[in-house]
């Protein structure tokens, strides 16, 4: 499965949660598949989805799912020790690991070669790390939500992108409707 197929499959789970979605094609895909006020789309700033999601989870009690990519986590690898050492049980980091920089032309990442992000997360001290196959993502994500324990999920999937339109919504509108959804 490629990322967009996974997002389609887990959209019914994501719909009821606060979601911080990674820059580029992942946000475009989620926006096209199931736009929700509870989705925060990153339009810039590669690498910070996991950090924004953690800050959001620490500030309020609703569950937060940060959807990140392997390339973006590698860009901001120092996020994993911060996550590990600040246990926030309403926080789930879902890393869609397709072994490539999808938004820039599918160049290979080191996570698709010798580097295991699941092992890196464990070495950083993350307590609940689950590596799963693409087809199991929905089940694993629902189990993580039900566990009410901070969880890092590394979903191994195929490289590839769906062709979706660029998000043209104004960033302040995205932020404002998201903050209203957080408070609702």
């Amino acid at each position: 499965m490629i990322r967009s197929e996974i997002l389609k499959e887990i959209a019914p789970i994501l719909r009821d949660q606060l979601v911080v979605c990674n820059i580029g094609i992942p946000s475009q895909e989620l926006h096209a598949i199931d736009d929700q006020p509870t989705n925060f789309y990153m339009l810039g700033t590669m690498g910070l989805a996991s950090s924004i999601g953690l800050g959001l989870a620490m500030a309020q009690p609703k569950p937060v799912i940060a959807i990140d990519g392997d390339g973006s986590v590698l860009t901001n690898l120092c996020t994993l020790p911060t996550i590990a050492n600040n246990v926030t049980d309403n926080y789930i980091l879902l890393i869609i690991d397709n072994g490539s920089y999808g938004s820039t032309g599918d160049q290979p990442t080191y996570a698709g070669k010798k580097t295991s992000l699941a092992k890196v997360a464990e070495a950083c001290g993350c307590d609940n790390v689950v590596e799963c196959r693409d087809v199991d993502t929905g089940r694993v994500l629902q189990e993580a939500l039900d566990s009410k324990k901070m969880t890092v999920i590394v979903c191994k999937c195929d490289s590839g992108n769906a062709t979706m339109p660029v998000i043209t919504m104004d960033p302040v509108v995205i932020r404002d409707r998201f903050m209203k959804a957080v408070q609702a």
């Binding site: 700033t45 690498g47 910070l48 950090s51 924004i52 800050g55 620490m58 901001n76 120092c78």
Partner: protein
């Protein structure tokens, strides 16, 4: 009252409930004070752009956030300031240790100091420079201004402000 306590009192009085820090020798006292206050959730960051991501999330979660860092971080965070904090229009007080200014003993720190104000000006970031200890009296107003205008605001604090650090 120490300037550390005054700064953190002002953060608390302005509803700042989340502070992330990347350390600097000059900032050790204020970081200790942040850590000691139960009203503030203190999360150390490994890198300043990561810290700004945490602040953005905290703000959207309803908790005002601030970052404490060194001026070298301006070089690290320009993209984050432009495409996250400014683009989505979020308030972010940045209490910055202004290394490489008067009473600085480490020559390399001057190399980033000479770019600091120019970079902040290029980014249209309101910038205040605390040089004397009495300058801290403006901190409360600067925080109110930051949350009024929803912008990142820089407070540069040099070695003279902190009472000297490793004087030459």
């Amino acid at each position: 009252m120490s300037i550390h306590a005054k700064i953190v009192d002002d953060f608390v009085a302005n509803g700042v409930g989340f502070i992330t820090t990347v350390p600097c020798k000059q900032l050790a006292g204020v970081i200790d004070e942040v850590e000691a206050r139960p009203e503030i959730h203190h999360v150390p960051s490994n890198k300043e752009d990561e810290g700004m991501g945490l602040c953005a999330g905290s703000y959207m979660g309803g908790k005002r956030a601030a970052i404490i860092m060194q001026n070298t971080a301006i070089g690290v965070t320009i993209n984050t300031l432009a495409t996250l904090i400014q683009y989505y229009r979020m308030p972010l007080p940045m209490l910055i240790s202004y290394r490489g200014e008067l009473r600085e003993p480490v020559a390399c720190q001057v190399e980033m100091a000479v770019h600091t104000k120019a970079l902040l000006a290029q980014l249209n970031i309101p910038t205040y420079h605390f040089h004397n200890q009495s300058d801290v009296n403006e901190f409360d107003m600067i925080l109110k201004y930051t949350f009024m205008c929803n912008k990142p605001v820089a407070i540069l604090t040099d070695a003279n402000f902190w009472g000297g650090y490793g004087d030459q």
